[in-house]
């Protein structure tokens, strides 16, 4: 990016600066022996044009909306439209969550995001013995279409987009969403939203798994194939680094494993015979925004550049929309502390700022009380207001990719990219991500990083304010509690639905799902028919568990 003679001059000047500095440091040494990111990447005291001498502006950085999209995927970025403010919400039953949705939309939220309770996430109904003690605690309980109808009461699905964090039963919840929209008079061609639908990172990190990897991939490709034809505005998958990071990965591992998962999904869909430019534009991504500010910004910028290269060079995509890495961000839950919980507001604000400077398309900001429970209305309001203050008061959305050209940020972006390619090459050599997961490779890399980080906290090498430094007593805060009657109401409604529906028809629909599961026919039309007849989440998942078998945790540590 700089002329040879310029660089030479800078090099000479830098030499002099280093000499002066070493004299100063002799008297007053630096306060740490090593300066590192939270991922333990060593950071120098100063970056200069020398660090960018291998970069080419047009090729490596370029312009927003143009390959390789380092500076952002849209030409106008936030000057055209702000990121979508999408708060991950789900509490108790569909009634409570519907109220929370309305409250958030009235408070200026611009998209919905559903958190399901654990039984739904794992393909069990509320009346299953496996659901005991878990109903409505970690998200909203959804057993049948009836619950989804209540969840979206008064919310027009042709106007709002909805993201659903759901994996093994993703196709079932998508089917329910399609039918609720249909009942509202909105066609499946109009509705927009996202299902997470990313099973590979479940085996790696989030661990809500049900079927073994291969049948899991088959069902994912069914949803991709179906939506490509029938639900054109739907994001068929949200390839997620968030959970990988939360499980303890470094920034580079998060980036590399996520893109390697993306490669595996591309390959699976192309194996089915889908054409790359037909389905790839509906792939989306989801990253963590952790507390190390510049490392995160560099990670987001590197992610866009890498995916663009993967899509154009490896998968020969021609459509620029296939090259674009569109992503949602959530601030880092694992960076929050139970100690002095009000400090979490500050952490979340910096993490949100990093996501915005990194060019995210949508954002969830965590609430200060989430190390204890699902957020209260008061806490979630502060979290949403954090985004609104960033968007409309601070001026950070005025110009596109404002940190581009920073010697430090560009150099870090480049370094993170190089290190992530090393991982991707290693995974390719193992035969791809499915094979790597079967060997436990990403799992053990993450466990290693998590343990190393914990040791750094315990030794005080890494500081967490209020935990290993500046420790004081703090007052307890009021947290959200689930009312016990919610569980009773959920069980009662499920009983009633099972009595009122046409059980013969449900049986028939489940039989068709079984047959399609065995024959390899696309499952989606059959799932839609089944949920329309009020088949439950578990009834459908039980068919799959019987046909495909279960996956259980190998349990290494």
């Amino acid at each position: 990016m700089f002329k040879e003679d310029q660089l030479q001059k800078i090099e000479e000047e830098k030499k002099k600066w280093v000499e002066d500095l070493s004299k100063i440091l002799y008297e007053n040494p630096e306060r740490l022996p090593r300066f590192t990111t939270i991922s333990d990447m060593e950071i120098k005291g100063l970056y200069t044009p020398e660090d960018l001498k291998d970069l080419d502006y047009s090729k490596d950085i370029g312009f927003p909306g143009i390959y390789p999209f380092t500076r952002g995927i849209q030409p106008s970025m936030y000057r055209g439209r702000l990121w979508t403010m999408r708060m991950f919400s789900g509490l108790g039953g569909p009634e409570e969550t519907n109220m929370r949705f309305h409250y958030l939309l009235d408070s200026g939220e611009t998209g919905l995001s559903i958190a399901f309770h654990y039984p739904t996430l794992m393909g069990y109904d509320s009346d299953s013995p496996m659901a005991k003690g878990e109903i409505g605690k970690c998200g909203v309980a959804i057993d049948t279409l009836k619950d989804m109808e209540i969840l979206f009461e008064g919310i027009p699905l042709d106007k709002v987009t909805t993201s659903m964090t759901i994996n093994p039963p993703a196709s079932i919840l998508l089917a329910m969403y399609i039918v609720v929209a249909e009942k509202q008079g909105a066609s499946k061609r109009e509705i927009g939203g996202t299902i997470q639908n990313d099973m590979l990172k479940e085996f790696i990190a989030q661990k809500t798994f049900m079927l073994p990897p291969k049948p899991s991939l088959r069902i994912i490709v069914d949803t991709i194939e179906y939506c490509t034809l029938e639900v054109p505005r739907w994001n068929t998958i949200s390839i997620s680094g968030y959970h990988i990071r939360e499980a303890g990965a470094t920034a580079v591992q998060e980036l590399a494993f996520t893109l390697a998962d993306g490669i595996a999904y591309m390959e699976a869909a192309m194996e089915r015979g889908l054409k790359v430019d037909d389905f790839a534009p509906r792939f989306s991504f989801f990253f963590d925004s952790h507390i190390d500010f510049f490392e995160e910004i560099a990670k987001f910028r590197a992610a866009r550049r890498m995916w663009a290269k993967i899509m154009r060079e490896r998968f020969m995509a021609k459509n620029p929309r296939s090259w674009m890495l569109r992503f949602h961000t959530q601030t880092a839950g694992c960076s929050l502390t139970a100690q002095q919980p009000f400090n979490n507001v500050i952490r979340t604000a910096y993490e949100a700022l990093a996501a915005i400077l990194g060019g995210t398309q949508s954002l969830h900001t965590n609430s200060l009380d989430e190390t204890y429970a699902i957020p209260t209305e008061e806490a979630v309001t502060i979290a949403l207001r954090t985004q609104q203050i960033l968007a409309e008061e601070t001026g950070v959305a005025n110009t596109i990719d404002p940190l581009a050209g920073s010697y430090f940020v560009e150099s870090l972006t480049h370094r993170i990219e190089e290190q992530a390619w090393d991982y991707i090459r290693k995974i390719d050599e193992m035969g791809g991500m499915v094979a790597a997961i079967e060997r436990g490779y990403p799992q053990s890399e993450i466990a290693e990083s998590a343990f190393k980080y914990q040791k750094q906290i315990d030794s005080g090498d890494k500081v967490i304010v209020g935990v290993n430094k500046y420790v004081t007593d703090h007052p307890t805060i009021t947290i959200w509690r689930m009312k016990p009657e919610i569980e009773e109401r959920q069980l009662r409604r499920l009983r009633e639905v099972k009595q009122m529906r046409d059980n013969e028809k449900v049986k028939e629909c489940l039989q068709k799902i079984r047959k399609a599961s065995q024959d390899g026919e696309n499952l989606m039309p059959h799932i839609i028919n089944a949920v329309r007849e009020y088949a439950t989440v578990q009834e459908i998942c039980d068919v799959w568990r019987e046909v495909f078998g279960r996956y259980s945790d190998p349990g290494y540590f």
Partner: protein, 135 residues
């Protein structure tokens, strides 16, 4: 007591909760501290945990919960241990557990609860002081 005998601990993930970062970190920390550690893996019912504890003849069970179901699952493990006549196995727990739930859990028989931010060393020390190899 033979000084060669090591403390045997079962680290267990109960219920549908998938958050296993803490459980794995503590399992490794305990192993490094010289304990014998058995990890159940995820998604274990209280029945499975108690069966594993008895079969592996452990001295203590460390239960991990980050999804809010501790108030049902932890006491259930204690109840089943009693039923099987294995109440001498010491049960402790950790995870996302609101402070106001801790006294009820302790009353049910959970000997200690470690909340977020606990250093590994603190948990190790507690185990050494409170759990002895039983043979």
């Amino acid at each position: 007591m033979n000084p060669e005998w090591k403390i045997r601990i079962l680290i267990a993930k109960s219920g549908l909760d998938g958050h296993d970062r803490g459980a794995k970190v503590i399992a490794r920390g305990f192993r490094d501290a010289g304990f014998e550690v058995i990890y159940t893996g995820l998604h274990q019912t209280p029945e499975q945990i108690v069966a594993a504890a008895i079969q592996e003849d452990v001295d203590g069970i460390g239960l991990s919960s980050l999804a809010g179901a501790h108030d049902y699952l932890f006491p259930r493990v204690i109840e089943l241990l009693k039923k099987k006549g294995a109440e001498d196995i010491v049960v402790f727990g950790g995870g996302i557990i609101p402070e106001e739930d801790i006294s009820a859990l302790r009353k049910s028989g959970v000997k200690a609860i470690f909340t977020p931010g606990t250093p590994i060393e603190k948990a190790v020390k507690w185990v050494k002081e409170n759990i002895k190899p039983r043979k």
